[in-house]
Amino acid sequence: MKGLALLLLAFPLWAGAQDAKKEIEKYQQMLGEGSPAELWELEGEALWKKAQGPKNASLEKCDLGGGPGKVAGAYARLPRYFKDTDQVQDLESRLLTCMTALQGRDRAETTKRLFGNADRPSEMEYLVAYVVGQARGHKMAAPVSHPKERASYELGKKVFFYRAGNWDFSCASCHGEQDKRIRMQDLPVLSEPAGAQKAYTTWPAYRVSNSQLKTMQWRINDCYRQMRFPEPEFASESTIALTHYLAVTAKGAPYNGPGTKR
């Protein structure tokens, strides 16, 4: 029941739509004030510092773009081009690189269980919570200077507007016009700075419907599920490019995650 129909249950006509909107905003605000997301950050920090893998190493020397071990603010400047892999990487993709390079783990093992659940969150979810929490207050500044960054941004834009799947949707079908909503759910316009900033700076997020912290890769994956697309590969070029496009569009806004969502 986590499809497009988020609010299948009708509630009786009791107030105007405006009042309903105001009350839902209040709900979301109060939700954010009491978020368990910080628990994921704590656990993620412990995992970040834990030595594991064949090389019995921690991720503390992982280069997220600012040099080995620099975590503070790193997320606000992702995705970006990395010389050692010669590609544009988002946070999740980069974490996988570090697990392989620093800890000596193989890709099959590190990608075996990327999306966890409330009873057993994934290592990726914990790590992501920690790293993004270290960027709170940092202004979004994903770069587009390297030729590969330019290409990634352009591809991301194309991916955003690409209509396909059984229902002919693109991201823009729902996130392309002002003041639209699905059921009661407001839809930010992600191709414009205001909407992209609002959404991007509050993801990844703790979702109370899953009692679980969800990553940006998950967010994109589940959008495609609801769009009736086939499943995108985790940290594939398309999903990284799409993330890059959104991050660049959101530039300038202070990062404020991990957020808390319904």
């Binding site: 509630f11 839902i24 709900y27 939700l31 009661m184 419907s209 009692s211 319904r262």
Partner: protein, 147 residues
């Protein structure tokens, strides 16, 4: 009730040095929490007779998008408030929590509760041996007791 409990605690403290929490377990009002109607829940916490009070404030959204997490903030301006209980009338087990305040804790709490469906949320405060209540209806669009 607190006094009785504390006496019991004192009496058994020596036996419980290594498991201090076992003593607290005795302080869980099993009957009230097992009550299936709001009336029985109120009876269970000794609040059969309550007076409505404007000094007891429930801050909560009127609509919760997800009943699994409904934020509620409660504060009492009734002088001498020593306890606040939360009763969600339409939950299968209506009594959600009871908070006892001592030694200078303000009669204030903010917590997240589960709501099975749209329901009145009744808050009961105890002050000077008397009970006061406030009620707020919260609409739930997706119920939250399954998980």
């Amino acid at each position: 009730m607190n006094k009785i409990r504390r006496t019991l605690l004192g009496a058994t403290a020596a036996l419980l040095l290594f498991k201090p929490f076992a003593a607290l377990a005795a302080a869980w009002n099993k009957d009230a929490f097992a009550a299936k109607t709001p009336q029985d829940a109120l009876k269970g916490i000794g609040a059969g007779d309550v007076a409505a009070s404007k000094d007891l404030v429930i801050e909560a959204p009127q609509i919760a998008e997800n009943g699994a997490v409904v934020p509620i903030e409660i504060s009492s301006a009734i002088p001498g408030t020593t306890s606040i209980a939360v009763v969600i009338e339409k939950n299968p087990f209506p009594l959600a929590a009871q908070f006892d305040f001592e030694n200078g804790a303000l009669p204030y709490v903010k917590l997240n509760v589960k709501m099975n469906e749209t329901s009145d949320v009744r808050v009961v405060a105890t002050a000077g041996g008397r009970r006061y209540a406030a009620t707020k209806e919260i609409k739930v669009t997706i119920g939250g007791c399954g998980g």
